[in-house]
Symmetry: C2
């Protein structure tokens, strides 16, 4: 009796040890697969061409939050990218100057500079190009760059800060420098998540449920497109490879995507693959905000891109994984910068 | 020769000492006059009826920054009261939901709860009444309180936070509690200035130029109306006692003020005396933002209220004094609170 108990106990130890060894193998393989598909965030998104000097970041941060540069004084970058809503605005589609409803959903500005292009259709090469063109687009609504720059020039303090950030230029307040400064700031908006710790080798940085979801995400084929440092944001793909997307999202009107930019028939329904960092905190989903639920968005993607009908278990596993991509709000984003006060107040001569 | 030098030197000492004694008398008298007209800020604006419990302040802070309660999802209290612009929006008149231009200029929310009434015409008894009615006014644009509360109820997290702030109520998410919570938060928005230190007896907390301006402010009669803890915000007065205001401000249309609220002929052109705290950082000026320059506003006020033509020196002295009323931005205002994320994302069943 005692002997058989010992034998049984030994078997149990062996079984547990065997299971642990297999689990450890699985964990190691999973990390290896993840590291092949994804990369952790860098400390910032500076490049050789786009440096993040302190003067430019400080100026860009102010400009990001200042609505006075828009045609009606109501729109800043922060109008669509609120700190409290994880760098989004929570709207289906954003509203610009004069309350114009913009054509697509505002993605989070966190980690956005990690992408190969900006905007859903990849209209802009980088954050600088986006920031510049926004000045005269429907968001800010200015009739010209000159009109926008005249507004900034009239605010005491800005010309001096442009001069400090862009020394030895004849006219430092210009749209190119505006774009460089806002871009420099955006290149500092790194929102690091538990998944970054995991990717650097800390296996327990994400939970067993999240690791299970990661395995499903990889095996289902999601990571074929949603890959790289942004978990997406690195390529264009047709939305609706297997089935028309709008039949599942209920989108009205049906956005044709990149074809409207390139006029190439192959670009019909082609969009930038959106990065999935912070996705669990940035509903509603898709280019037009047509789907409110993360799990519904997961099911639709599997169906129209891969032809898969996910089970509830698979869907919830993937959702669990996506939640571990939720990162912290950058400190210099949560805290609003103090802007140069309204013009005129310091006029010493009284008119 | 040596003796006469000593005598002369002694005289000089006596003269200097005499001047200092007179200056000290002046300084003491000025402080006494100031303390008779003004009071320093309290640590918060809680009252027996309006307490500032931590749960209510925390909830109210989130609600203050959350645009999802408005009819189009674009308007929160912070739409018109930006941290970077000293609790104002820098606009002549604010814009509400659907880009509706509101009838009057948005004053700073800092120290606003110090006032005897809210809004330029005193429409609202206190910050709570203002916050409540704003929900169904042109700012937030909701068709009803029920519609606004339905939006909050649908956001996971808010019902629980209302319950925590207002325990043991059948339906804690209601417009009365919304108003109490936002009001509780606003009652904590104290923006203390160097002038508060001066009023508590620190003579050198403000500069000699600012003290000279204080003397002019008192002697000219400004403090007859702009008095108390808010340096105004304690009474109604006719705008244009001596001359029509609009001839000087260029206002179009000419706002009739409180008469439109009370229907009493005596209230023609009557407005709440605005508090002057942070005035130097909150251009443009007057109920309609019709004047951009602080010094121009000072001249106009002296002319139309008192019949005085101020000299440049008097104008600049008063402006110097007003600048020492500029206070710090409350920490819990500069830093945006994290809001409950968009609805639905956590739905476990996938639709």
């Amino acid at each position: 009796m005692i002997k058989s108990f010992v034998v049984a106990a030994s078997w149990a130890v062996i079984l547990v040890a065997g299971a642990s060894a297999a689990e450890a193998d699985d964990d190691t393989a999973l990390l290896k697969d993840a590291q092949a598909a994804f990369q952790p965030l860098p400390k910032d998104f500076a490049t050789a061409a786009c440096s993040v000097t302190p003067e430019r970041v400080e100026l860009g941060r102010k400009l990001f939050f200042d609505p006075r540069v828009s045609v009606d004084g109501t729109v800043s970058c922060s109008r669509c990218h609120l700190a409290g809503l994880q760098g989004t605005d929570g709207l289906t589609k954003s509203h610009g100057a004069h309350d114009k409803v913009l054509p697509r959903n505002a993605p989070t500005v966190f980690n956005t500079a990690a992408q190969f292009k900006q905007h859903w259709r990849g209209d802009f090469a980088n954050v600088e190009a986006q920031a510049k063109e926004a000045l005269i687009g429907p968001g800010f609504g200015n009739p010209s760059f000159a009109a926008a720059m005249a507004k900034l020039t009239a605010i005491p303090g800005y010309p001096e800060q442009f001069e400090a950030a862009f020394p030895n230029q004849a006219t430092p307040v210009n749209e190119g420098n505006y774009a460089t400064a806002v871009g420099a700031y955006e290149r500092t908006l790194v929102s690091r998540s538990p998944f970054d710790d995991y990717l650097t080798g800390k296996l327990d940085a994400i939970s067993p449920a999240e690791r299970r979801g990661l395995r499903v995400f990889l095996d289902t084929g999601c990571a074929d497109c949603h890959r790289g440092v942004g978990i997406g944001g690195a390529s264009f793909e047709k939305f609706g490879v297997v089935e028309d997307y709008a039949a599942h999202t209920g989108s009205k009107p049906v956005d044709k995507g990149r074809v409207d930019v390139t006029k190439q028939p192959d670009d019909m329904y082609v969009f930038k693959v959106p990065p999935l960092r912070n996705v669990a905190l940035s509903a509603p989903y898709f280019h037009d905000g047509s789907v409110a639920s993360l799990t519904a968005a997961i099911r639709i993607m599997a169906k129209v891109q891969l032809g898969d009908d996910l089970t509830d278990q698979q869907t919830n596993d993937i959702a669990a994984f996506l939640r571990c991509l939720s990162g912290s709000v950058p400190k210099d984003f949560a805290e609003a910068p103090m802007l140069p006060p309204a013009a005129f107040y310091a006029s010493p001569t009284g008119s």
